[in-house]
């Protein structure tokens, strides 16, 4: 029966230890290889500081983050709605299953090109392209959740006629939490990766743009610096938003 804050701080200690070990492993690996090919933490750190000082790091991460955020929200909302509907209504699923498989497996490239061509090389096109890429993934995950719902509770909801909205809110959504959290986590990652491609193919700013350019010059240090900076941001989101959220949502568990 530790206190809340004590638990929080041992948790942080573990994370810190983990990161230290990771960096050490990286350092060891780097010391065995050409610094051009795998620059060590020091070198990447220096690149990071330089990019931070001239401001380009923050601008680019900021821009990318805004795109990630916008398309993530769009994709999660639409994807969850589609997934739950398909998971609950058999006929809908029968009909739309092939569509889902199509969009799930359409290469990102195809969707991105078509979006850019149709909507122009604009911010809106970029965000829609990313969202379209991600929506089927969310839908597929939540559809599984929608199928695995507890029948006892659904029956209870139907006998007590609590209505669609309350059923959704009190009976269905809480059961989907783990699926949703899974979709959020791998979704955030996926969206960010697609944003990179989208930026590579048609934006003149953002981390994807920087990484793409750095790849042309084979500047691994810059690639890693930007990638890690973004990972750090996600790590923060995980700590400050996702985990507290999850703790709250799982409070009821024995």
């Amino acid at each position: 029966m530790k206190k809340q804050s004590a638990r929080r701080s041992t948790h942080l200690a573990w994370s810190a230890l983990s990161i230290v070990v990771l960096v050490a492993a990286w350092q060891v690996a780097a010391s065995f290889s050409d610094p051009r090919l795998l620059p060590g933490p020091g070198r990447v750190g220096a690149t990071l500081v330089a990019a931070g000082l001239d401001g380009s790091l923050f601008t680019n991460i900021g821009i990318t983050l805004a795109r990630v955020f916008a398309s993530f929200v769009l994709a999660m909302t639409i994807g969850s709605a589609i997934g739950i509907a398909l998971g609950r209504v058999v006929l809908l699923n029968r009909f739309f299953d092939p569509w889902l498989i199509l969009f799930l497996n359409l290469p990102a490239l195809v969707i991105i090109i078509l979006c850019y061509i149709w909507l122009g090389l604009t911010e809106v096109a970029a965000i829609i392209a990313v969202a379209i890429n991600k929506i089927p993934n969310v839908a597929v995950t939540l559809r599984e959740g929608g199928r695995a719902l507890d029948r006892d509770l659904l029956e209870m909801a139907s006998v007590y006629r609590i209505g669609r909205w309350r059923t959704l809110r009190h009976v269905i959504l809480p059961q989907l939490t783990p699926y949703f959290m899974g979709a959020v986590r791998s979704g955030l990652a996926l969206v960010w990766k697609i944003v990179l491609v989208v930026e590579l193919l048609g934006r003149g700013s953002g981390v994807g743009f920087v990484i793409g350019s750095a790849f042309q010059l084979f500047d691994v240090s810059t690639i890693l610096a930007y990638a890690l900076a973004f990972v750090a941001v996600i790590q923060m989101i995980e700590f400050l938003i996702l985990q507290p959220c999850e703790r709250r949502l799982n409070r009821w568990r024995r």
Binding site: L153, E155, V159, Y160, I162, H170, W252
Partner: protein, 243 residues
């Protein structure tokens, strides 16, 4: 006051599909039952005969049968169903569970809290159900059904997992509720004493497909119902050979 609700049940055929290597089970075949408005009907019968199936059909959960089940009085009566397991939402607190089917008014809340208090669970209203003992969860499920002020109350062995004192208290609560509002009750139990103590009519099911082997009007007075001797006597007279 709501119109009293009667029930007309006519099940021509209820069969569960044979699944995996299980044999087809025909549960009901030409089963008929008419329940008068305001009656308190107890269903007795061996385990696995189809009592829960019957309640599920009445409640509308199970529609995969041929026949018809009609309500008289209210066409869409308010229904309370105390399932055989508590079926509480584990991610909602006790109070939230009870309030779930109710309108979000202060009155509903007061009713719920009072019910909990009457059931001896006043200090649990903000607890999540998995932190309660099973008997406590059952009481919450009962409270949920009672709070709704149902026209028809289906109860599937509501008083198991409860000690005798608590069960008695709940019986009183139920009887009190029935005295205040007219409710038609279908009450499944394995405890024939329970049945005699409360029912206006006892139906004993048996056989496969199930049919009513006994259909007894219980004409005991209030006083007799409280008297253990009278109950045992009734039991000896009507139910001794039934099971």
């Amino acid at each position: 006051m709501a119109a009293m609700t009667g029930l007309e049940i006519e099940i021509d055929d209820k069969t569960y599909a044979p699944l995996a290597s299980a044999p087809t089970r025909r549960i009901f075949d030409g089963f008929q039952l008419t329940v008068d408005p305001g009656a308190f009907v107890c269903l007795l019968g061996p385990s696995g005969i189809g009592k829960t199936t019957l309640l599920n059909m009445i409640s509308g959960l199970d529609t995969d049968y041929s026949g018809r089940i009609e309500f008289r009085g209210e066409p869409r009566p308010r229904m309370g169903y105390v399932f055989q397991t508590p079926r509480l939402l584990p991610w909602r607190t006790v109070l939230e569970n009870i309030l779930l089917p109710l309108p979000s008014t202060e009155a509903a809340r007061r009713t719920a809290v009072n019910l909990l208090t009457d059931m001896g669970m006043s200090d649990t209203q903000d607890i999540y159900p998995e932190r309660l003992s099973l008997g406590m969860q059952r009481r919450v499920a009962l409270a949920r059904a009672f709070a709704l002020e149902p026209d028809i109350l289906l109860m599937d062995e509501p008083f198991v997992s409860l000690d005798e004192t608590t069960a008695d208290k709940l019986r009183d609560l139920l009887i009190e509720m029935l005295a205040q509002r007219p409710v038609t009750v279908l009450f499944v139990t394995h405890d024939s004493r329970d049945a005699i103590r409360m029912a206006s009519r006892i139906i004993v099911l048996s056989g496969s497909p199930a049919h009513a082997v006994k259909d007894i009007q219980v004409g005991l007075s209030h006083g007799e119902r409280l008297d253990k001797g009278a109950i045992e006597a009734f039991r000896g007279r009507f139910l001794a050979q039934s099971q």
